[in-house]
Symmetry: D2
Subunit: 346 residues, 4 copies
C-alpha cells in the first residue's frame, strides 16, 4: 500500500484525484493540502466526499507532507509547484506534477511564456508524462510532468501522422473547445454561470494560449524537427470535456481507410486510446468521467485535407486520470489500476 499526498486538493483536479484514487486498490490518500481551506475537512469543501473521505486539509509544509507520503501529486498553479517540488525530490519522493512547471524542457521557453524558471536542475530530470508516447521513460521516473489538457488531446490526435510523415508539419491547425472546469475553481466574473451559459467563444486566439509551446515541443519531437502550429481554444458551456478538431495538408494522397488503419496500428494495445471505426466521430459526452481519448482521423475528399477529431475529459485523461496512469507506470502498478471506471452518460 502506497501513501499518497495531494498538494492543492481543493481545486477540481485535486478532487478528481481523490475520486479516482478512492477506487485504487494499492494506494491510500494520507495527506491533503490547501492554502485557502486549511483547517477544514475536504468533505466540507466538496460534499461529494462526505463519509468517504473526511481528511483535514493542511497548510502546505513540504517536509510534513513528505513525511506522510511516498508519492506526491502537485495540483498547484504554475510557479507554486516549482517552489515545493525541489524539497519533495530531495527527500526522495516520487512527484507527479500537474502544473506547467516541468513540461517545457527548455527553461528559456518557459521563461518566454511564463516567467523565469526557478528549478532548472529538476527540469532536466522531469519526464513528460504522455504514456502513449513515452511510456518507457516514465517507468521508474521520479518526477513526471503531467501534460496539459489541450496538449493531451492534440498530441495524441496528431502523433501517428507526424511520426509517419503523413502530413506537412507546417500546415497544422488545431481548433479546440473546452468545458469550464478547465478554468479552475477560483472566483472570477468570467467563470460565473450566467457569463458562460448559453455562450460559445474563442479565446487566446492567434497563438496566445500557454499550451501552445507545450504542444509544439512534443509535435516537433514526433516530427523530428521544429514546427509551429496555429492553435485556437474555445470555451463551451459545459463542465467537462475537450474536443480538438485538427487540420493538416497530407504530403501524399491518403484515404480515410488508410488513416484509420494507421491509427489502429499506432495505438494497438493502448488501454485508453480508442480509434473509432470509419464513419464514427467522437463526442466529449462519450468520455465524460473516463480516462479515454477517442480519436477519428479522416480525409476531406473534396479538398484533400486530413482532419482528425479527438475527445477527452479534461479532468481525467487531460489531468487527474492521466496523473494516476503515470503514477501506475512510474511505480510499477498495472497501468489501468483505479482507472477501470467507464465514462458516465448521460
Amino acid at each position: 500500500m502506497l501513501n499518497v499526498a495531494i498538494v492543492g486538493a481543493s481545486g477540481y483536479t485535486g478532487l478528481e484525484l481523490i475520486r479516482i484514487l478512492h477506487c485504487h486498490p494499492e494506494v491510500a490518500v494520507t495527506c491533503l493540502t490547501s492554502e485557502q481551506s486549511a483547517g477544514k475537512r475536504i468533505s466540507d469543501v466538496f460534499p461529494t466526499l462526505r463519509e468517504r473521505c473526511d481528511l483535514m486539509l493542511e497548510n502546505l509544509e513540504p517536509i510534513r507532507v513528505a513525511e506522510k507520503a511516498d508519492v506526491i501529486f502537485t495540483a498547484l498553479p504554475h510557479k507554486a509547484a516549482m517552489e515545493v517540488v525541489p524539497t519533495f525530490m530531495k527527500l526522495g519522493k516520487t512527484v507527479i506534477d500537474l502544473s506547467a512547471d516541468y513540461r517545457l524542457s527548455d527553461p528559456k521557453v518557459y521563461g518566454a511564456w511564463y516567467e523565469e524558471h526557478l528549478n532548472p536542475a529538476n527540469l532536466k530530470k522531469a519526464v513528460y508524462g504522455l504514456p502513449e508516447i513515452r511510456r518507457a521513460r516514465i517507468k521508474g521516473a521520479r518526477l513526471v510532468a503531467n501534460p496539459g489538457c489541450y496538449p493531451t488531446s492534440i498530441i495524441l490526435g496528431l502523433a501517428p501522422l507526424l511520426k509517419k510523415g503523413v502530413i506537412d508539419p507546417h500546415s497544422i491547425i488545431a481548433d479546440s473547445a473546452s468545458g469550464v472546469s478547465g478554468a479552475g475553481r477560483s472566483a472570477k466574473v468570467d467563470s460565473l454561470y450566467c457569463e458562460v451559459n448559453e455562450g460559445f467563444k474563442a479565446y487566446g486566439v492567434g497563438g496566445a494560449h500557454r499550451h501552445t509551446p507545450e504542444i509544439e515541443q512534443e509535435l516537433s519531437l514526433l516530427a523530428g524537427f521544429e514546427l509551429k502550429i496555429t492553435f485556437t481554444p474555445h470555451l463551451a458551456p459545459m463542465d467537462r470535456g475537450i474536443l480538438s478538431t485538427m487540420y493538416a495538408t497530407p504530403t501524399k494522397e491518403v484515404t480515410t481507410e488508410k488513416l484509420v488503419a494507421l491509427y489502429k496500428g499506432f495505438y494497438a494495445g493502448e488501454p485508453f486510446v480508442r480509434v473509432l471505426p470509419q464513419g464514427s466521430l467522437p463526442s466529449t459526452a462519450f468520455v465524460r468521467g473516463g480516462n479515454f481519448c477517442d480519436i477519428a482521423p479522416l480525409v476531406d475528399s473534396r479538398t484533400g485535407r486530413v482532419i482528425v477529431v479527438s475527445a477527452i475529459d479534461n479532468l481525467v485523461k487531460g489531468a487527474s486520470g492521466q496523473a494516476v496512469q503515470n503514477m501506475n507506470i512510474a511505480c510499477g502498478f498495472p497501468e489501468t489500476l483505479g482507472l477501470e471506471g467507464l465514462a458516465i452518460f448521460p
Copy 2:
C-alpha cells in the same frame, strides 16, 4: 461469478446498470436485450462503452435470456415487465424489476393508476426493494420491485418522522425536482434540448403523477395507517438528480437539533444514506453518479413546520444503483459491492 442479464439495455437505466456492474467483482454481464436496437452492439448505441462492453443486443426472448443468466434486471416500461417476469420466475431466476409493475402490493391500486395487472400471483411474492426500510425481506428474495426515483427520495426523507410519530401524517407535502433523464430516452418533443433547457416547470400537479400511490403505500406502512400526500414533481434543466423538499406539521414541538439526532440514529450504519450536519443542505450536484441519498431535516422556527430536504441521483440510488444494492442483498454479496464509486463533481 454470477451471470447477469439486462433486459431493456438501450435505455438510460440499462446503460447505468452496465456502468455500475462493470466494476462489480462478482458479476459478469452476459446478455443484453433491446427491442429497438437488437442486432447492434451496445457500444454502437452508447459509445461510452466502446472497447469495454461490446455485447450484441438481442431480441427479448425470455427463455433464451434465462439460459444465459442467474440474475435478470428488467429495465422495461410498465406492462412490458410483467409480460416477461413470470417466465423468469418460473425458471427459477432472481429478478430485479426496475419497472412499476411489482411495486404496488394491491393489484386494484395498480389497476386504478396504470391498467389491469397481468400477474397478481408474483405480485404477492415481490418485495419492495428499499433496503434501508426492508433489508431483511430483500435477503434471499426472488423478485425485487426496485422503487421509483421520486419515491426513493421521499420515503427515505420522511421515514424517521413517520416511524417515530413526529409529524401529522395528513399534513405531508412533497415538492420535488428531477433531471431530464427521468423521462427516458424516447424521442419526444417535450424532451428536446431546446424545450427543456433554460426552463423550470411543474407537471402532474394535483396528484396526477403515477409515483403518488407508491409513495403513499410506503409512507402509510411506516405511519401505521392510510395517509394521502400532496406530491408535485418539477422538471429541472439538468441530466440527473432529484431533490425533494418535504413539509409537514409536527405533532409536538421539535427542534432541528433533535431531528438531526433522530435521523442520525435511524440511519446509523447505513452505507448510502448521509444525514447532513445541522446547517448543511443537500444538492443533487453532490450525489451525481453515486448511490447516495443525502438528507437534511430541520424546523422552520417561525412557523413551526418540519422541513426535510433529500437528494439522490435518479439513475443511481433512484434506479440502477439501488437495483445493484438490492441484487447484492438478495444474492448475499456485501451490500456495497460495485457501489464504492464516489459521486462525480463537477
Copy 3:
C-alpha cells in the same frame, strides 16, 4: 422625452433596464453609474450593447446624476440605495428603487432582517410597486419600491385567494426555484458555472431568506391580518426565471374550475398577468425575456389542497421590466410602453 439615469448599471438588472428602455419611445438613457467600472464604456462591460449604447460609466455622484435625469432607477445592493435616494428625493426626482431598502414599511422589520434603516422619512413616502395590487397609489408616486423577484411571483400567485378569503392564511407554503442571475454578477465560488451546472439545491430553508418579510407584509395586507408563511427558495441551473409552487388549505370546498374563474376575474384587463386555462401549467421557459407572470391555480382533488403555480422572468417582471412598468404608471405613460416584446423561446 424623459431623461433617465440608471445607478448601478453594471449588474444584470442594470443591463436589463438598458435593454428594455432601448425600445421605449418616451425615454432617453442619459446617465449610467458603476463603482466597479467607472471610466469604461457600458458596451465594454456588456458587449451586447456595442454600437447601440456606448455611454461612459460614471462614479455615483448623486448631484451630478440628478442633473442629468428626471427619473432615476437605483439598481444597487441594499443599504447603498438608501444612501443616495434621499438626495434624489430632495432634488425632486422620481426614483424607482430596485433594492430592498424601501420595500418594508416598518423600519423595525427592516432592522431585524437587514440592518438599521437610514432613511425612515422617505420610507413613509415609498409605494410598494406591484402594479396589479397597488396601481392607484403608484400613479404620480415619487419613490417606488420595486418588489423582489420571489415576492412578485408569490404575491401575484396568492393575491386572489387571500383577498377573497378562499384559503386559511396560516397554511401557506411557497416553494420556489430561481435561475442563477438572481444571485447577481459578483465573483463568488458559489455562482461559478461548474458549481451551479447540473445541480439543484434548496437554500435559506426554514425562513432564512430576506424576501420572507416582504412576502408576509404584502400577503398580510391582502388577507387583512398578520400571517406567516413557509418559504423555501431553490437554485436551478439556468440563467433566468422563477417558478413558485404554492400550497394552502381552502376554507371551504373549491374546484379548479372555480379557481380559474376567480383568477381570470381578479386579473381581468391586466396586461402582464396571464391566467392559464385549466389543464395548462406555467414554465419559466415561456416568460423568458418578457414581462409576464403566468399563473395556474388548481385543486388537488385527492387531498383537497389548493395549489398555485406561477412563473416570471426574475430579471423582467421580477426586476427591471416591472421597474419600467412602474415608471410608466408613475410618469403617466401607457403602462405597456417599452414592454411589448414577447418572451424569447427557445
Copy 4:
C-alpha cells in the same frame, strides 16, 4: 400595413418570425400554417405567445394563404418550399424563403447535394438574401432565398478578405459551432436534452454538410473564381448561436491592425455587422436574440495565418431576423424596422 403569412409556423424559425414581426410597425401577421398542428392555436404550441398572438394554425393551402397575405415567409424543410413557392409567385406575392431550395443558383449543384430541383424557372429569379453583400439586388425582389445559418456567419466573416484578395482562396478552413435549435424541433433521439447536454461534438466532417456548396458558391463569387473550402460544423450544448473560426493563408504580409481597418471600412454603415476593436473577440452570448453579426479578424503572428472569428444568433441573423431584414429591403421599409431589439444577456 402589410399582411404577412408564415408558412411552417410551428418550428423555431417560424416562432422567431412571429416574435420579431410582433414589434414591426408596418406589418400584420394574418396567416400561419402548420401541417402537424393545424387546428390548434399557435399559442397552444408556443405558450410564449399567449394573449399576444393567438392565431389558429391552418393547413398549407397555397391559394388560401395567398389570399390573406402580401408577403409570405416560407419556413419549411427543403423540397416542401419549392412545392408551394411557384403558386405564391404566380399569384404575385413576395416570398422570403428560409429553406435551401432557392439558395444554389445552379440546379445541378442542388441536385448533387439535395435532390432534383422542381422549380428551376423561379430559381433564376431568386436573389440570395445576404443584404451586406447583395443589398441592391434585394430591393424590389419578389423571391429572396434567405441564407443558411452557417453560411451567414462564414460569408460575412470572409467577404472582405476575398473581395480584397488578401488571402489564398484555396487555403480556407471554417470551423463552426452551433446551438441545438439549428437542428429544428422534430422529435429525434439525437436532439434530446440528455444526448446533447454536457457534450461537444463534430458532425458532417469532411465536406458532408449541405451548407458547404452554399458557402462555396458565395465565396467563389466574392473571390472571382471557383474555390473549395474545408468546413466542419460542431454541436454545442446551448439553444442558440453560431460561432465560426476561420483560417486562411494571406497572399502578402498583413497585420491585425490593417485587417481591422479593412473590415471597418468594408462594413461601414452596416447596421447589423459589428467589427470588434482589436483585442476583442465575439461570443454567441453577445448576439443572443439580436440581429447582429460580430466579427474579429486578426493575424496569428507566430505562423502568419489570418484568423477570423464571427458570431451570430442562428435563429435571428442566421434565419428569421435576416428574413425580416430582407423583407424590409425588398418592400422598401427602413432596413432595421422591427429589428431594433438588443441582444439579451444573460
